[in-house]
Each structure stands twice: as structure tokens, then as C-alpha cells.
């Protein structure tokens, strides 16, 4: 691997990420999959980095799940999106940041479509006015929340309490980065580092002391694919894609997988259990899986947030081996305690994977 070659590509794909003043929209599913990720993002940007990040309870889904499942036509999705953008304008913002990769891809696709087909743009603006009496607007800058954490990666490193380093040996942890397909595969120029060698997560890993693992199936989709997962008879296909990735990364013995998509971390986390149960195979050491985390969770750990406050107890694969390596203290007693010590109840302990 010639690192300079990658650097050259990274320098070709740099997008402008404004420093401050964003209108933030959440993901439909991330709050239940990774309950503290979005809260961590807001806490880091607002309270640690002192940025102006605005959110409103009036925003909705982007329509992506319905659109990608063929439940609604493109025009409907575009009108939903136009309403989101209109809210941004209404509250006086022009930079738009979204938590979800599916949304990010759909926003890119929509803005690109409006650029190509101004008539359609007019029609959507009309739909928006008729249905919501809101003024049509397009963001000046559209970014994904991981773009922002990427932009602030060195500031976060400056505040770091822990690093992606084995605190006993001083060696960098081996970290797999997995990018949501819709981040840059559709529009390579919209992603930091492009589509073939995205830098958005790799940059965070480097800034926080880890070593990026580039394994053969790095570019491969996690297999979520909406229809592939939603329909049970297709679920094997979804599982097979994740399996292929794990088989490919196995020789590198990764310590952690970091992702920027709602679906990927969920499936890469949960399918490890299904693979362990049905194939009897685990990819970490001593019957453990490989912890899969969102970039906000990793940023939170680096900044010294309590692992249980970050919601890491909701992951299938226990984060403990990673916490031990990074030297992060945690109280096992507190793992399944919610806010104010409320007992969340313990999941059944599995024999096949930890």
C-alpha cells in the first residue's frame, strides 16, 4: 500500500464544510439503534466545540426508507425534502447537516435532480407551497454529520482523554472503517476522499491514534439494502454480504469497526450474532465479536464519555475488550442501568458470542 497515492486522491476530493451554524436533522432509526449517538453529536459540537447547531421538532423523516422500498414515488420524497429545506430557511440557516447516510444520499440526488431538471424543481416548489405554505429553499452547503466530526477531528483529538491505542503496548488499534454506500458511491465528489478511498472516517481514525485497516472487501456493501433486509426471504442475502466482509477482514484482526451509516453498524453488529449462532464463527478473540460503533460513539469514547451513557450496552457485541484496550474505565454493574440508576433489565447471555 502506497500511502502517498491515497493522499493524492484525498486531496482531489475535498469538499467545503462550513465551520459553524448548521440546521441539524435526525435519522429515523438511529435513535433506537444507537440511542446516544445523535445526543453525543450535539453535545460534542454544541458544548465542547461551541458550535451553533439548531434542530427543530418540526422536521420529519426524509422519506428515504419509503422511497428506497418503492413505497412512495420520487416526487413525494422530493416534496418531503423540500419541506425540510424550507424549515432550514425559516429558522435562518443555510448550512444543512443530516445524521443519516440514506438521507444524505437522497438529498444529494434530489439537489442534483433539481439542478438537471429546473421544471421539476418548480413543480416541487409549487407542491410545497400548496401543501405547507412554506418558501422553497436549497441549502448552500449540504453535509453529513460525519463530515463535521471529520472537520473537527483534530480539535476532538486535542480534547482527547483516550486514544485509539492499546494503552498497555502503545500500539495503534487496528480499525476498520465502513462507509455507507449512499455517502459517496452515487456522487463521489460529495464525499470527503471520494468513493473508492473515502477519507471521512479514515481521517478520524488517524487523528485519534488508530491504524486504518484496508482489507479486500472494504468497498463492499454491508448488505442492508432495504428490500434485502425488509423481506425475510431475502435476509440471507443481506447476511451473506456482511459475512463476506467479515471473512475478508478477519486476517487483519481488527479491534474495532467504525461506521457512518444507520444501517451498516446495526447489521454488522447483529449479524455477527447470527453468524456465530448458525456458523459457529466469531471474529474477535476468545469468543468475542468485533465491536461495531458509530463515529459519534467513538468520538465520545475518545473524549472520555461514560460508555454506558453512550449507549454501548445496546450493542450486540460487547464493547468491553475495546474499552480494556483503550484503558477506558467502566463499571460492569452499571451496564444495564438507565438514567438515575433505573434497571433496564439484562439481555440473555449468549453462549455463541460475547
Amino acid at each position: 500500500m502506497i500511502y502517498e497515492g491515497k493522499q493524492k486522491i484525498w486531496s482531489d476530493y475535498q469538499k467545503e464544510i462550513p465551520d459553524d451554524h448548521y440546521f441539524y436533522v435526525r435519522s429515523c432509526i438511529r435513535q433506537s439503534f444507537f440511542p446516544a449517538s445523535e445526543a453525543a453529536f450535539l453535545h460534542i459540537t454544541r458544548n465542547i466545540l461551541n458550535k451553533d447547531i439548531f434542530e427543530t421538532e418540526h422536521h420529519t423523516t426524509c422519506g428515504g426508507i419509503a422511497y428506497h422500498s418503492d413505497a412512495i414515488p420520487q416526487e413525494t420524497a422530493m416534496t418531503i425534502i423540500a419541506r425540510q429545506f424550507a424549515l432550514m430557511k425559516k429558522y435562518g440557516y443555510e448550512n444543512y447537516v443530516c445524521s443519516c447516510i440514506t438521507s444524505f444520499g437522497l438529498y444529494c440526488e434530489t439537489m442534483e435532480t433539481w439542478r438537471e431538471f429546473p421544471d421539476l424543481k418548480e413543480k416541487i416548489a409549487e407542491n410545497l407551497w400548496k401543501s405547507c405554505k412554506l418558501e422553497f429553499a436549497v441549502p448552500k452547503f449540504l453535509v453529513h454529520a460525519s463530515d463535521m466530526i471529520y472537520k473537527y477531528r483534530n480539535q476532538i483529538a486535542a480534547h482527547a482523554k483516550f486514544k485509539l491505542v492499546d494503552h498497555k503496548t502503545g500500539k495503534p488499534l487496528k480499525v476498520v472503517e465502513h462507509i455507507g454506500c449512499h455517502y459517496s458511491k452515487m456522487f463521489p465528489s460529495k464525499g470527503v476522499g471520494g468513493a473508492e478511498y473515502p477519507y471521512v472516517l479514515a481521517g478520524m481514525i488517524e487523528a485519534w491514534g488508530g491504524e486504518v485497516v484496508d482489507y479486500p472487501e472494504r468497498r463492499h456493501c454491508c448488505g442492508f439494502g432495504f428490500r434485502q433486509y425488509f423481506v425475510k426471504s431475502n435476509r440471507g442475502y443481506s447476511l451473506s454480504n456482511t459475512y463476506k466482509k467479515f471473512e475478508s477482514m478477519e486476517p487483519y484482526e481488527p479491534d474495532l469497526i467504525i461506521t457512518n451509516c444507520p444501517g451498516c453498524p446495526y447489521f454488522m453488529d447483529r449479524w455477527q450474532y447470527v453468524i456465530a449462532e448458525s456458523e459457529g464463527k466469531t471474529y474477535g478473540k476468545n469468543g468475542h465479536g468485533i465491536p461495531v460503533m458509530t463515529y459519534e460513539e467513538v468520538a465520545g469514547l475518545v473524549l472520555g464519555f461514560d460508555p454506558w451513557d453512550l449507549g454501548l450496552q445496546t450493542h450486540q457485541i460487547g464493547p468491553e475488550p475495546l474499552l480494556d484496550k483503550m484503558g477506558i474505565p467502566y463499571n460492569p454493574e452499571e451496564k444495564y442501568k438507565g438514567k438515575n440508576g433505573k434497571d433496564l433489565g439484562q439481555p440473555r447471555q449468549l453462549d455463541c458470542i460475547r
Binding site: 500500500m1 502506497i2 502517498e4 497515492g5 493524492k8 486522491i9 482489507y215 479486500p216 472487501e217 468497498r219
Partner: protein, 337 residues
């Protein structure tokens, strides 16, 4: 009085034209931006289909150049278009009043970095056709270490709208098959695979080369474009392609991958084109005055073309064009006396 003919580009086309125009009794000035004459030919080791030593062909061209005015390390700075001539200012400070200008600016090799998915300049064992020729000349390339399995990807930067070139570069198929045979000679135990979309073995002796590659060298031809290259933990390469004849995706590990970079219009040729306001076709190469009857003339009187400046060509075709251009220039000068 002798007429001045300025030849821009000292590759095979420019050299052969210089020789012929000089023999026809005109005053030739040849300029070349590189330090040495010969263009890509000087960087090549052997030529298809026969494996003829490129050096010998180049030496003949050089021998014929003796006594001809030649400026290397020299580029055109500007051109004033006069009524019946061209006032050309060179980067070495010399000004030439040319009665005719021959553009033999050739091609640039497609920059294989642009096919990001192939990992040229990123993965340790991905090289180009030009790198391989250099290896054959020097036997010095760290990326080539006793490979056991070697792949060739045809059409890199050719027939590819994604990189902005839908045209076929014409010579890469024959070059790939030639290089595949040569590498098999070098590494006798290696398995060699060519990934092609169509095999365009159109010239005399090319089909024989293909047959030889199959029969004598046992080279496997897989009809399918490589979609993606990545690196295994042992630094070997993982290749994905479809074996389109089986209609199945295919995966294979390789120790060396050779990208057959195609031909793009030369950048310095384009600059000359802008100075002379010459038109190009959609592929970026220059437009000839007529597709059939006037292949060497541009639409501007007194400006001529030879070789790849007007689209991909083989070396014999290029040399023939040079001879043809010499004759056209000779006739033009006679008519405008």
C-alpha cells in the same frame, strides 16, 4: 530559395517526416519538448506483432535524421499566423518563419491513476504497460517480484465514458498480448490472464500473435472488464471481474496487474492546436481536412498532421502517415511557390 518546414514533435512521425521532407529538398526544423528524440518509441522495449527490438527501429529513424536541424528540450511559445506563413517563436528564443507546419504531437498515455478503482499508485503490484516496457529494458522494478499469477487489463482509459474517452486506443490489445507472452517467457511458471472486452487483433500478424499466446504460452483470455482491485494482507491483489461468457462474477488473486493505459491527445499538441485555432473531434484528437481524401491536411492551409495527432494508430501506420504528409507538404510548397 528553400522553403522552411517546421515539424512539431520528435517522435516516430516527426522523425520520419523530417527525413522525407529533407530528402524532397526543403529546409526542415524539428522541435521536441523532451530531451531525447523518439517519443514513446524510445521508452518501449519490443514491438508487436513480431517482437522487433524498438531500439533498432528508433536507430534507423535517428540515422535518417542526420544533418537535419533539430531542437530538443524546446517548445513552441507562440505562433503568429501570417498571410502565407507562420511566425513561430520557440522557448529557446529562436524565431522561425515557417512556410508549412507539420504537427506530429502524438499522444499522452492515459493517466492510470484516474481509474481509481484499479489502485495504480496505491497498491504495490499494479503497473502500466509503459512501466512493464521499462522493466523489460532495465529489469529493475520493485513491484515485479517473481509473480506467480499475472493479469492484464485491456481498455484502461479507453472505451470508457466514465473517464471521458469512448474511443478505442487501437494498439492496446496487441500490446497486451505481446506483453503477456513476454512476461510468460520471463516467468515461465506464472499463470497469465488477459481481461478483455473485445480482442481487436486487426493487423497483419496480430491474429497469429493471439494464437501463439493461447497455444504456446497458455495465456487465459477472460472476456470481462475488471471492476475493482484491492490488496490482500500478503500484498497480493484481489481482482473482481465478470467472466461474461460464463455469466458469473469472478474473483482471482494476482501478484502483478498490468493496466493497458490507452492513448489520449497530447497536452502539448492541444496547446499548439489552440495557437493555430485548429478543431478537434469529440475524442480530442485533431480534425483532418477530409476523412478520406485529405488525411494529412488540417483545415488551415499550410498546417499538416502526421501520426497519432489525428487519432490512435500503430507504429507502421504512423510512419506511413509521415511519408504521406511529406508528400502533401512537398506538393503544397510547390503550388504556393
Amino acid at each position: 530559395m528553400k522553403k522552411n518546414v517546421l515539424i512539431i514533435g520528435g517522435g516516430p512521425a516527426g522523425m520520419e517526416a523530417a527525413h522525407q521532407i529533407n530528402k524532397l529538398g526543403h529546409n526542415v526544423i524539428l522541435i521536441e519538448k523532451e530531451h531525447d528524440l523518439g517519443g514513446h518509441l524510445a521508452k518501449w522495449d519490443r514491438l508487436f506483432p513480431t517482437g522487433r527490438n524498438a531500439r533498432e527501429v528508433l536507430d534507423t529513424l535517428k540515422e535518417n535524421m542526420k544533418g537535419i536541424n533539430c531542437f530538443t528540450d524546446t517548445e513552441v511559445k507562440s505562433i503568429n499566423i501570417l498571410k502565407e506563413s507562420y511566425n513561430v517563436i520557440l522557448s529557446n528564443g529562436i524565431t522561425i518563419l515557417a512556410d508549412a507546419v507539420l504537427i506530429s504531437s502524438g499522444f499522452d498515455l492515459f493517466d492510470a491513476h484516474k481509474k481509481e478503482e484499479y489502485g495504480y499508485g496505491i497498491y504495490d503490484h499494479v503497473i502500466t504497460n509503459a512501466d512493464l516496457e521499462k522493466y523489460y529494458k532495465t529489469h529493475n522494478d520493485e513491484r515485479i517480484k517473481n509473480p506467480k499469477r499475472i493479469g492484464f487489463v485491456h481498455c484502461v482509459g479507453s472505451r470508457d465514458e466514465k473517464v471521458g474517452n469512448i474511443a478505442c486506443s487501437k494498439v492496446c490489445c496487441a500490446t497486451a498480448v505481446k506483453q503477456a507472452c513476454e512476461i510468460k517467457e520471463e516467468f515461465k511458471d506464472a499463470e497469465v490472464i488477459c481481461f478483455y472486452m473485445d480482442l481487436r487483433m486487426f493487423g497483419r500478424g496480430y491474429e497469429d500473435l493471439y494464437l501463439k499466446a493461447q497455444k504456446e504460452y497458455g495465456i487465459r483470455f477472460i472476456r470481462g472488464r475488471v471492476s475493482e482491485v484491492s490488496e490482500n494482507i500478503d500484498k497480493s491483489l484481489q481482482i473482481k471481474a465478470e467472466d461474461t461468457l460464463s455469466s458469473k462474477p469472478m474473483k482471482v488473486s494476482l501478484d502483478l496487474l498490468v493496466l493497458m493505459a490507452g492513448m489520449r491527445p497530447s497536452k502539448s499538441g492541444n496547446d499548439i492546436g489552440k495557437m493555430l485555432e485548429l478543431s478537434t473531434m469529440e475524442d480530442g484528437f485533431f480534425n483532418t481536412k477530409d476523412d478520406f481524401n485529405n488525411l494529412q491536411q488540417s483545415k488551415r492551409p499550410g498546417v499538416f498532421y502526421a501520426g497519432v495527432a489525428t487519432g490512435p494508430k500503430t507504429l507502421p501506420e504512423t510512419l506511413n502517415e509521415a511519408r504521406s504528409a511529406a508528400l502533401e507538404i512537398h506538393n503544397y510548397l510547390a503550388e504556393t511557390l
